[in-house]
């Protein structure tokens, strides 16, 4: 590859970048997206999973609330396959001021977020595990959102409209022509090959890394990285997205995400978005908050912990608490800010509003690309969501009927069959099991890969994707990556599982001495 050309070059393959690429492609621009790792391997693949109704922001940030509910309505239709209509419940626990409920209702009313107070008994009937001492309860249209399906759905849509999506391509430098950004110098992280991409407009959608990209054009983008921790529990302890009815703070949302449920989050400023360390005190904090929402939470089985970094845009001087920085997005046109043309930054915001962010960014790009073209992302469904059928938790189970033993299942927790796995390996053309994980949720269940990863490695090897040493390395890489999220929460049942997995990998497979 010597060099590529496009109208629009998008940097960053999270929800924002993928949304921008899709929007630009739908408007007929030739588009290339580069992502230094895999798609949605940044903040988007590590977020909490809530398709906000806006309820959370109704009191504090009315404009964010309005954006959320509008986008929530759109995504239920255009990204149906990524959305599970769980519904949301705001509850006043004994630790929360029940009067806040009035402010909450008022805020929701003012921002067009449908909210309805229901009797406590009714709330407990719907969510029998929720703390029986709650004093008030409100229904809102929160939903669960699958980040990988969303980003890949955008990417596939963009590709269908001619875009090129290049994961594992890192931007090393921006190419300047005087005061104009005219492209980027990128390196394939797989082959090591370096080449240039020329573009009329470069859109920086690098999330918490947006500042690093802006630096390359000598522009300033102040994004602070607000690290947040989440813990996935083994099964759904709640069926709706359950929020504490109070001003947003730590550990106040427990939501069902696919087969698990996830408690989160925290918010700690970190100097480097690539350095996220899971602290024991944060784990304890989340488990304690979980216990307030669902008594017995600490006894339930925790599967995995992970952290993501919020891109918090900060245009002015210092802000002490990162949660007080705006969650609304920032679109920066560097020609008006620093006099650098052909370069836009879109950051901040949330996954819920990614489409809106993309629309704003591409609207701005249009100005430098010869005039406005209408945005179509609010109507055209994402790849995979054409049928407008909302995702349901039982989908994978239903797919195994009527003869469940008809096909070998490789990942039992996530019900992934051999053919589905082989298809995914082929489709992704990858040797990384982590890529497959993001596509299929391989190894994301209770045993965390204990039983499926050596099988999947064998299949990868069988298919000729990797040689023996490569297969061994793939296995080790995956185990090491998984372990990072498993060891911080090990106790009780998950500790037992880890012991069994350990016997398999150390005792039977002797992984530490695999020839690589």
């Amino acid at each position: 590859m010597s060099s590529l050309e496009a109208d629009v070059l998008v940097i960053g393959g999270g929800s924002t970048g993928a949304g921008v690429a899709r929007d630009a492609a739908l408007r007929g621009f030739s588009t290339i997206l580069v992502e230094r790792r895999d798609l949605a391997d940044g903040t988007t693949g590590r977020f909490h999973g809530l398709l906000h109704s806006g309820g959370r922001y109704a009191v504090k940030d009315p404009s964010a609330a309005r954006e959320c509910i509008a986008e929530n309505r759109i995504l239920r239709v255009t990204a149906a396959d990524c959305v599970e209509d769980t519904g949301g419940l705001f509850v006043s626990t004994p630790w929360d001021d029940p009067e806040y409920g009035d402010q909450f209702l008022e805020g929701c009313r003012a921002t067009d977020v449908p909210a309805e107070e229901i009797p406590v008994a009714e709330a407990l009937r719907r969510e029998p595990r929720v703390n029986p001492d709650i004093r008030r309860a409100f229904l809102v249209p929160d939903a669960a959102l699958d980040p990988w399906k969303l980003v890949w759905g955008c990417a596939r849509s963009a590709e269908a409209h001619g875009a090129r999506i290049l994961p594992y391509h890192r931007v090393l430098d921006l190419e300047m022509d005087g005061e104009r950004v005219v492209g980027a110098h990128v390196r394939s992280e797989r082959s090591g090959e370096e080449f240039g991409i020329h573009a009329t407009v470069v859109i920086n959608a690098a999330g918490a890394w947006a500042g690093q990209i802006a630096d390359l054009a000598h522009c300033t983008v102040n994004v602070r990285a607000g690290m947040g921790l989440m813990i996935a529990m083994n099964h759904r302890l709640v069926h709706m997205c359950v929020n504490r009815c109070k001003r947003p703070s730590d550990g106040d949302i427990l939501l069902p995400l696919r087969t698990a449920c996830v408690i989160g989050t925290t918010d700690v400023f970190v100097p480097d978005p690539d350095q996220t360390e899971i602290r024991q005190e944060d784990i304890d904090l989340l488990l304690d908050e979980g216990e307030k929402l669902v008594p017995g939470f600490r006894q339930a089985r925790a599967l995995h912990a992970w952290a993501g970094v919020r891109p918090l845009f900060e245009d002015t001087a210092k802000v002490a608490e990162t949660r007080d920085v705006t969650r609304s997005h920032a679109l920066l046109d560097h020609s008006s800010r620093e006099g650098v043309a052909g370069f836009l930054t879109i950051t901040g915001g949330k996954t819920t509003t990614f489409r809106l962010m993309a629309e704003a960014a591409v609207d701005a790009a249009c100005e430098q690309l010869g005039g406005p073209r209408p945005c179509r992302t609010a109507e055209v469904p994402l790849a995979g969501s054409e049928s407008h059928e909302l995702y349901q938790i039982s989908h994978r189970l239903a797919a195994r009927e009527p003869v469940p033993q008809a096909e070998e299942i490789i990942c039992e927790c996530e019900l992934i069959t051999r053919s589905r796995l082989e298809e995914a390996i082929k489709q992704r053309d990858t040797t990384s099991l982590d890529d497959i994980r993001r596509l299929l949720r391989l190894a994301m269940g209770p045993c965390q890969g204990g039983f499926c990863i050596y099988r999947a490695t064998g299949i990868l090897h069988q298919g000729g994707q990797v040689d023996q040493a490569g297969a061994n390395q793939t296995l080790l890489d995956f185990l090491e990556e998984r372990w990072k999220g498993v060891h911080p929460i090990l106790h009780g049942d998950q500790l037992r599982q880890a012991r069994l997995d350990d016997w398999i990998f150390q005792g039977i497979l002797d992984v530490e001495h695999l020839p690589v």
Binding site: H235, P404, P446
Partner: protein, 432 residues
């Protein structure tokens, strides 16, 4: 309570021990196995009904829960998933019918000869299979005509002896009243006065056919009948392993009934062999057994193992001179209550039972022993041998049948071995 069943899935480490023991998944690809439908699939069951119809192929034998080293309530998870499935689809007529043995019993008893003819007539059974879905070859017991309840009204036992309460279940009442009389005889022989309260179905067949609300109604009604005796501190004995287990554990663990009365009844409930063995351990069992020179293979039914009491029948029968019991090492006969009656499951049930049938046949005995009624019918069906309750062997060893006028009981299962106890034709009761 129900949450505790679901929560137990957290203990699953996917060791697969349950899968290696499941008798059903080994013989049919339609059932994905206990780990799959239990702790795995449960994670995919949200607030709504389950979409995996294959869970209905679980026979409910409960072996998975018994063998699980991590204490996952696998069979219980499946049982509840099945109930949710039927909640959505509506329980089919067939399942409604076979789940109500009292209703069938009441219908069949007055017209026993006709009903029995129909039950064993191939043309009728063919029609029943196509219209209702009960397999034409499935083992069906014969109506005894006069129920055990009726017979017991005219029985005059001792009046001043310590009392036990007899929970006989529907099988004894409608199909094997003679077994009930042997139970009474054996208990009286050991110095007890036997109280036979009025009783209906325990609800177990309704539970295993997924109709939890109706099952709860039945079990509550039964508990109401039994609880005064439990309150009086009397032991309740049963010769039906599955119905006994229902009262001991399942009504609470699976149906989720939280109830002081049920708890009292549960705590007073004994399998009859368990009860007699306890007597023996206290030195209170009569051991005046005569010689019984027989070799009899013994199958401990799945439900019996659910009691967690070992195999008391074998310990008791070891006391009988010259009786050689062969302990069979097969988990399940396949029938699992009403499972093997169903058109779509009959073949599976027979395939499950095949090893047991082969092992019994290999002993060359024309007699087998087993505690559960439906399992005895299945064994008889699968092997052609006579299958009896262990009590029947004890009864015979005590020599209790000797004084009875021969040939009184046309339905005598152990006709070749012993004559049945006498029953007076006088009938005072207007119960039933």
């Amino acid at each position: 309570m129900n949450d505790l069943i679901r929560d137990s899935l957290d203990h699953c480490v996917k060791c697969t021990i349950c899968e290696t023991h499941c008798p059903v998944s080994q013989v049919t690809p339609l059932f994905p196995g206990p780990k799959y439908v239990g702790p795995q699939a449960e994670r995919y069951r949200g607030a709504g009904p389950s979409s995996d119809a294959s869970v209905d192929y679980c026979s409910g034998c409960g072996i998975c829960t018994q063998v699980c080293p991590q204490d996952v309530k696998i069979a219980e998870i499946n049982s509840r998933a099945r109930a949710k499935l039927w909640e959505k689809r509506g329980v089919p007529l067939r399942n409604q019918m076979i789940a109500r043995p009292t209703v069938i019993g009441r219908l069949g008893t007055p017209v026993a000869p006709l009903a029995n003819w129909a039950l064993h007539n191939r043309a009728v059974r063919g029609m029943v299979q196509s219209m209702i879905g009960i397999h034409r070859d499935a083992p069906m017991p014969s109506f005894a005509g006069k129920t055990f309840q009726r017979r017991s009204r005219s029985h005059h036992g001792p009046t001043d002896a310590p009392a036990v309460v007899y929970f006989h279940g529907c099988g004894t009442n409608y199909y094997e009243p003679v077994l009930g009389e042997m139970m009474v005889a054996v208990l009286e022989h050991n110095g007890f006065r036997v109280i036979v309260p009025q009783q209906d179905c325990c609800g177990l067949p309704l539970q295993s056919n997924g109709n939890f609300p109706a099952a709860r109604t039945y079990v509550r009604r039964l508990v109401d009948r039994l609880v005064p005796h439990a309150r009086a501190g009397l032991p309740i004995v049963s010769n039906s392993t599955s119905c006994g287990l229902m009262l001991k554990r399942e009504a609470h663990e699976i149906l989720g009934i939280e109830d002081e009365d049920l708890k009292l009844v549960s705590e007073s409930m004994y399998d009859v062999c368990e009860f007699l063995l306890r007597l023996h351990e206290r030195g209170a069992l009569r051991t005046d057994f005569g010689s019984l020179p027989l070799t009899v293979p013994y199958h401990a039914p799945c439900q019996q193992r659910g009691h967690g009491i070992g195999k008391p029948a074998l310990d008791l029968l070891a006391l009988v001179p010259d009786l050689d019991m062969i302990e069979l090492d097969v988990d399940c006969c396949g029938i699992a209550g009403t499972y093997g009656l169903k058109k779509e499951k009959y073949e599976i049930a027979m395939a499950v039972g095949k090893r047991l049938f082969d092992d019994i046949t290999a002993t060359g005995s024309d007699l087998a022993a087993c505690d559960s009624e439906t399992c005895r019918w299945q064994i008889a069906h699968g092997t052609g041998v006579t299958a009896v309750h262990p009590i029947e062997l004890l009864y015979r060893a005590y020599g209790l049948g000797a004084s009875d006028p021969a040939g009184k009981h046309g339905t005598r299962p152990l006709a070749a071995v012993a004559a049945g106890p006498g029953t007076s034709e006088r009938d005072t009761g207007s119960h039933d």
